[in-house]
C-alpha cells in the first residue's frame, strides 16, 4: 500500500508540481495516474522511490515513511519502468535484467538464471538475452524494461508512460501482457499515462490529475465514465464516454443463429451468409448473389470485430462494424457460436439501467 499524505512538491523555480496530494494506492492493484501534460503525474510517481523528495507531506510505502530509508536501498525494493525503457546500452539484455539482483548482492549465476526466467515471464525468447538493447525493437525493449523492474520481485512497481513510445498494436499487446502478469504476480502497481483509454483499460482505480498537481477525481474507471466529478473530468474522459461505459457492463445479449458455409461449398444465398473454415472460425461474409454459387475466397466481404462475450461494448462494436450489421460471436477457441444485433445490445443496456447497474 502506498499513501500520499498532504504531499506538496515545489521546485526551486517556484513551480508547484504537486499540491497537497492525499491519495491511497491499495496493495495488489493497478492504480493509474492520468492527466494532461505537466499536471504532476511524473513528479508524484517519482516521489515514491525518492527520485524526487517532497517539499512537505509524507509518503508511506507499506506503512514506512520513505524519507526514513536511504534512497538506493529504497529503490532496490521498488520496480521502476520508464518511457523508452532507459535500458543500459552497454549491457546485454540479460545483464540489464540482472541489474537489481546483482546490486542486492546475489551471485552472478543466480542473478542470470533469474534474469532468463524473467525474460520468459514477460514473453521474450531467452535467446534475446545475448543481444544488446540497440538490437531490439521498441516493444521488445519495453518488455526488457518491465523484466528488469521485476527482477528482484519487488512488491511495488512504478511505471511512467512505459508504453507511450510504441505503435498502437504493440501497445495493446503490452497492455494485455501487463494485465496477464498482474493476474499472476499481484503487485502494487502505479501506472502513469496521459492516455485516458490506457488508463481505463488498465486501472482498477484511476486518479485524474489536473494542472498544478490537483487530484480531480479518484475512482474506479466505470465511475469516472458514468459519474465524472466535474466538467474537467468529464471533458478529459472524452466525448464518447456513454459508449465507453459499455466496456464495464457485462449483460446477457441474445445470440441468434446464423447461416454458415465453407469455402468450395455450393450454396444458394439469399441473405448474408457467414463463411467459416474447417474449425468453424469466421473467414468473411457472402451476400448479394442470387441463385446457386460456389463459395470462393474472392467473393468474401471481410470486416467486423468479433465478440467474445466480454462486455456490451464488444457486442455493440461487433454489430456496428460488421458489413451485415450482425456481430459475430465466437467462443474461446474462436469458433462461431452465432450473431448479436445492435438493437439487442441497446435493450440489454436499458434493462441494466432499469436494474440500477448503470450509475446515473
Amino acid at each position: 500500500m502506498i499513501e500520499f499524505r498532504a504531499v506538496t512538491k515545489r521546485f526551486e523555480d517556484g513551480t508547484i508540481a504537486v499540491d497537497e496530494l492525499d491519495l491511497t494506492v491499495e496493495a495488489g492493484t493497478i492504480t493509474v495516474f492520468v492527466g494532461p501534460s505537466g499536471c504532476g503525474k511524473t513528479t508524484s510517481l517519482r516521489m515514491v522511490n525518492r527520485m524526487i523528495d517532497p517539499t512537505s507531506g509524507t509518503i508511506l510505502v507499506d506503512g514506512r515513511d520513505v524519507l526514513t530509508v536511504d534512497p538506493p536501498t529504497l529503490r532496490r525494493g521498488i520496480g521502476y519502468v520508464i518511457q523508452q525503457a532507459g535500458l543500459f546500452p552497454h549491457r546485454t539484455v540479460l545483464d540489464n535484467v540482472a541489474t537489481v539482483p546483482l546490486l542486492s548482492g546475489w551471485d552472478k549465476r543466480r542473478a542470470r538464471t533469474r534474469a532468463a526466467e524473467l525474460l520468459e515471464i514477460v514473453g521474450l525468447d531467452p535467446a534475446f538475452g545475448k543481444r544488446y538493447p540497440a538490437q531490439l525493437s521498441g516493444g521488445q525493449q519495453q518488455r526488457v524494461g518491465v523484466a528488469r523492474a521485476l527482477a528482484a520481485d519487488p512488491p511495488v512497481l512504478l511505471m511512467d508512460e512505459p508504453f507511450s513510445a510504441v505503435d498502437p498494436v504493440v501497445r495493446e499487446d503490452l497492455q494485455n501482457e501487463l494485465l496477464r502478469l498482474q493476474a499472476e504476480l499481484d503487485k502494487t502497481i502505479v501506472f502513469v499515462t496521459h492516455d485516458i483509454d490506457e488508463a481505463l483499460k488498465l486501472g482498477e482505480r484511476v486518479a485524474v490529475f489536473r494542472k498544478g498537481g490537483h487530484l480531480a477525481q479518484y475512482a474506479k474507471p466505470q465511475e469516472l465514465l458514468s459519474a465524472p466529478a466535474n466538467d474537467f473530468v468529464a471533458s478529459f474522459v472524452g466525448r464518447d464516454r456513454g459508449y465507453r461505459t459499455l466496456t464495464f457492463l457485462h449483460a446477457d445479449v441474445p445470440v441468434h443463429p446464423v447461416a454458415t458455409a465453407k469455402l468450395g461449398e455450393r450454396i444458394t444465398v439469399a441473405d448474408w451468409t457467414l463463411v467459416v473454415d474447417e474449425q468453424n472460425r469466421p473467414k468473411g461474409w457472402l451476400s448479394g448473389v442470387d441463385g446457386e454459387v460456389e463459395v470462393g475466397e474472392d467473393d468474401l466481404v471481410s470486416g467486423g470485430s468479433l465478440y467474445d462475450g466480454s462486455s456490451l461494448r464488444g457486442a455493440l462494436d461487433a454489430a456496428l462494424s460488421s458489413p451485415s450489421a450482425l456481430g459475430v460471436v465466437v467462443d474461446d477457441a474462436g469458433a462461431v457460436t452465432g450473431v448479436v444485433k445492435a438493437d439487442d445490445v441497446i435493450q440489454a443496456l436499458a434493462k441494466a439501467r432499469a436494474a440500477g447497474e448503470v450509475p446515473k
Binding site: 538506493p72 532496490r76 532507459g86 546500452p89 552497454h90 549491457r91 546485454t92 545475448k130 543481444r131 544488446y132
Partner: protein
Amino acid sequence: MGAWLFDPAHWSGPTGIPVRLLEHLGYTLLTLLIAAVIAIPLGAFVGHTGRGGFAIVGLSNALRALPTTAVLILVVLWAGLGDFPVYVALVLLAVPPIMAGTYAGVRAVDPMAVDAARGVGMRESGVLLNVEIPNALPLIYGGFRGAALQVVATATIAAYTGAGGLGRFVFDGLALQEFGQMLAGAVLVALLAVLVDLGFAGLQRLTVSPGLRPAGTGGKR
C-alpha cells in the same frame, strides 16, 4: 634517407634506433598514463555533476593554446635538464583532449539510462562507474587517441633540450646538416604514431561494449 635508415650501424648501441624508439614510446606511454589519471576523473566528475562544465571547457581551451616548446623551455630553466620538463610539457598537451572527451562523453550518455540507473537503486558512484563511464568510453577513447597522436608527434621536441627519443635524429640531423637522418627520424615518428594508434584502437575494441558500436554492427546475432 633509406641509406641512413637501413645502415646496420644505426640499429645498435645506446644511441641506436631501437633505444630511441623505446625512449620515445616510454615518454608517450608514461605521459598518457599521467594525463589520463588527471584528466579522466576530472572530466568524469564534472560531467557527472554537471557543475563546472564551463570551467572545464575554458581550461581545456586555454591549455590548448599553450605552446609546448615554451613550457618545455620554462621548466628546463626552472628545474634543470632531464626528463621531468619533457613530462610536464607533454602532460599539459595531453590533458585537454582527454578531459574534453571524457566530459563530453559523460554528458552525452542517454539521460534515460542514467535516470534508470538511479531508479534501480545504484549509488552515485555506481551510476558513474557502471553506467556513465562505460557508455562514455567511445568518446573518452576519441580524446585519448587524439592526445596520443599529438604526444607522439610532439615528444620529438624533447630532443631540443637534450632529452632522448626519436627527436634526437631530427635535431642531430639538423645540426649536422644530415637530411637523411632527419627524414628517417620523422618517418620513424610517424610510423610509431600509427602503431600506437593501432594499439589503442585494439584496446578500444576489447574494452568498449559491443552494444555501443554504431547501429547494426554490435554484438552477435
